[in-house]
């Protein structure tokens, strides 16, 4: 049981960040790229070794996977019993996340060598990528909720920096600010949740919070606020942070705009790793949610279900290929949240938890592949918009094949990884809540439809007039595509129910044909409709959208959620809260302070003449005062 190497997983990216950030511009850009990529390569190897050792060499203790604290040190001591530690916690989900993050990040590092070649700020890009990898890895191995919060914020910062990478472009700057403010707003809830939780339990430590001993929650019994128990509040507030990072409705508005960042960043941060941090958070705190706040879990399942449907509907109408993928990400994360929400804890009851983690894993592979494929297409066509594309299959054979594999995977075609994980989620939903199951079933069809709408529009249809003949991307970009395609195909054969479960004990699952077959069928129907509508350029889609009229417009404008936010913030909050508060600040608070200053200056001007430096005057005052004192003492006392 020796995991001393795991400390390198955090140290290497941090050192690479410092090196590239401080010294990167002194060398040729490609050097910082190579250093970053090599660093991530080493981390990937260490992560794989750790996973191998954790799952297969050390394996289970007493029939379940233990929580191993590989490293821990005191960082802050608040009270003798309440301390904030920094450390590395290894358990099935954190080890799994290490594998996911390092793999995708490594692929993105290689890919960016080609994609970002010749961009201004190449070394800055690699420095930020390393910073992101550092914070994300630190987040998943956190031993306590406070460490997680610190890295959580670091992740938010690196996301902000990378979305705003093209800082001369106004839309990118606006998008980065939007992402930062929205997630930061959600993190406020997270922080309050942490404080509430630790106030009652007197600990931050995950080992204690999610351990067998529930007596730490005894002090919360009977404490309620506004009709909900205090643990439900804490859980919901913590989930608010998770919903912000994972872009759950109604905090999803930042994610589509975040596509202004470079495409590899979208693949890494806004598809595979950072946006699943919310799912990871709920999974990490799952025993707390399950035993102490089951109501919060119900909320999570409905939020997840609604978001997945909502985003899938919007994805059907968007034309920017990266935005389609962004809404697809929202929808898939909704799936994961829903699966967590409907999950039980012990044995086969915990299938939702397992399915969620399983889908997280496979989704990271195929969604990163989709984004990198989209990057390759954008690289060839120099446009994000679907109407500028068509008939690209001849020009981009490798991208075409890998993109097709990813589309098939996400659509849930049998024997690809997405099929297995989605099937488990549907099983979990079916066992728990029939309405949510119906929603997810519909979303499965919609997913297949919009993905193949995208696919046919890009690779089939009429060839557009290109400025120059599109050409396949260089090897640095196609090799990651191929590796990820390999992962998308085969990741489904990993026996997740033996490795990553809610109670860390393996259980047996099998394909439920009563659910698998209909879900495959609806996926195929979705593909079929897309094939009919978009294989050849036709007017039918336009007619359908005309026929739907107002509804289509509403969907196309993302249900006007952005406009609602702008209305609420600009009109209501600005006018009725900010302005009065600003007035109060300027006139009352500042006025008080200015008044005190004015009073001091004026009075000192008045009395400074007393200290003239004129000795006889002092003597005069002294003598007169003495005489007055004498008179006072003589006549009054």
């Amino acid at each position: 049981m020796n995991y001393s190497l795991t400390i390198l997983i955090l140290l290497i990216p941090f050192c690479v960040f410092l090196f590239n950030g401080l010294l990167g511009m002194k060398f040729k850009p490609v050097i910082s790229g190579l250093i970053g990529t090599t660093g991530l390569g080493i981390i990937t190897v260490i992560s794989y070794l750790t996973a191998w050792q954790y799952f297969f060499v050390d394996g289970m203790v007493d029939g379940s996977f233990p929580k191993v604290t590989a490293m821990s040190m005191h960082w802050l001591t608040l009270t003798p019993s309440l301390t904030i530690d920094m450390g590395i916690l290894l358990d099935p989900i954190s080890v799994m996340m290490l594998v996911v993050i390092s793999t995708v990040s490594f692929m993105v590092h290689i890919y960016s060598l080609g994609y970002m070649k010749g961009e201004k700020g190449f070394e800055r890009f690699y420095a930020f990528l390393s910073l992101f990898s550092f914070s994300m890895l630190g987040l998943v191995v956190a031993t306590n909720i406070f460490q997680m919060y610190i890295f959580w914020e670091l992740v938010g910062v690196s996301s902000f920096l990378l979305i705003g990478f093209y800082y001369t472009k106004d839309s990118a700057v606006a998008a980065s600010k939007k992402a930062f403010i929205v997630t930061r707003f959600a993190d406020l809830g997270f922080l309050i949740g942490i404080l509430v939780l630790s106030y009652f339990t007197k600990t931050f430590d995950f080992n204690v919070l999610t351990g067998e001993d529930h007596s730490i929650f005894a002090s919360t019994a009977g404490v309620s606020f506004l009709g909900m128990s205090v643990m439900t509040w804490a859980a919901l507030l913590i989930f608010m942070g998770g919903a912000g990072k994972s872009a759950m409705f109604p905090l999803h508005i930042w994610l589509p705009d975040a596509m202004e960042g470079p495409t590899p960043v979208s693949a890494l941060i806004h598809a595979a790793t950072m946006v699943v941090a919310g799912v990871f958070l709920v999974a990490r705190m799952f025993p707390v949610f399950y035993f102490q706040a089951p109501d919060a879990l119900t909320v999570i399942s409905y939020v997840g279900g609604f978001t997945s449907l909502f985003a899938a509907v919007i994805a059907c109408t968007q034309y920017d290929i990266k935005r389609v993928l962004a809404f697809s990400t929202l929808s898939q994360i909704g799936y994961m949240m829903l699966a967590l929400g409907v999950s039980g804890y012990e044995g086969h009851e915990g299938v939702g938890y397992m399915a969620s983690m399983f889908h997280l894993f496979t989704h990271a592979m195929f969604k990163a592949l989709l984004f990198l494929g989209a990057g390759s297409i954008i690289h060839a066509v120099h446009s994000n918009v679907m109407q500028d594309m068509g008939g690209l299959r001849k020009y981009l054979p490798i991208t075409h094949m890998t993109f097709l594999i990813a589309c098939l995977t996400i659509a849930g075609v049998p024997f690809l990884s997405g099929f297995f994980s989605k099937d488990e989620i549907l099983v979990a939903a079916f066992e728990h809540n029939k309405i949510l199951f119906a929603v997810e079933f519909l979303v499965a069809g919609l997913t297949a439809f919009y993905m193949f709408r995208l696919y046919f529009n890009i690779f089939w249809g009429k060839e557009k007039h290109y400025h120059h003949t599109p050409h396949e991307s260089p090897l640095t970009m196609t090799i990651p595509l191929m590796i990820l395609a390999f992962g998308s195909i085969f990741a489904g054969y990993i026996p997740f129910s033996k490795l990553v479960t809610a109670d860390s004990m393996p259980f047996v699952t099998h394909l439920d044909y009563a659910i698998a077959i209909p879900s495959v069928l609806i996926g195929l129907i979705g593909i079929g409709i897309a094939w009919l509508l978009y294989k050849k350029e036709s007017l039918i889609p336009e007619k359908i959208s005309k026929a739907l009229g107002g509804f289509y417009q509403a969907v196309y404008h993302k249900f006007y959620i952005d406009e609602v936010y702008i209305f609420i913030t600009k009109k209501i909050i600005f006018n009725y809260v900010s302005r009065p508060v600003a007035w109060f600040d300027r006139h009352i608070v500042d006025g008080t302070m200015n008044g005190i200053g004015w009073l001091t200056v004026t009075s000192s001007k008045g009395i400074k003449g007393l200290q003239s430096g004129n000795l006889p005057q002092y003597g005069m005052v002294f003598v007169l005062a003495a005489i007055i004192l004498v008179l006072v003492f003589a006549f009054l006392i």
Partner: protein, 105 residues
């Protein structure tokens, strides 16, 4: 020596000396003169000490000793003051108190 002289006469002399000193202290501009005025004040006090001792407690000597102390301290104080005045003169080429008002504020 003081036989036959009422105490009031002596006190009037000392009060006169005291107020002469105070007036000199306030009115004069020359630092040496101010120093001399201070000496006048101190000596007025000395007279009071001696006189009160003599008339109120003739068989005790505290008043006399205090007068001697005051004389000693006045000498020490005068030497310090003269040293200061010499330094001020070297610096400002003047011993008028009007010139020494740099230490205000």
């Amino acid at each position: 020596m003081l036989e036959g002289i009422p105490i009031t006469h002596v006190l009037i002399v000392s009060a006169f000396m005291f107020f002469a000193g105070v007036c000199g202290f306030i009115i004069r501009r020359n630092m040496i003169t101010i120093l001399m005025s201070i000496e006048l004040i101190l000596n007025a006090v000395n007279i009071n000490l001696v006189v009160f001792n003599k008339y109120l407690f003739p068989d005790q000597l505290q008043g006399h000793f205090f007068a001697l102390f005051v004389v000693g301290i006045a000498a020490a104080e005068a030497s310090v003051a003269i040293a200061l005045i010499i330094n001020i003169y070297r610096r400002l080429s003047s011993i008028s108190v009007d010139k020494v008002n740099e230490m205000k504020y």
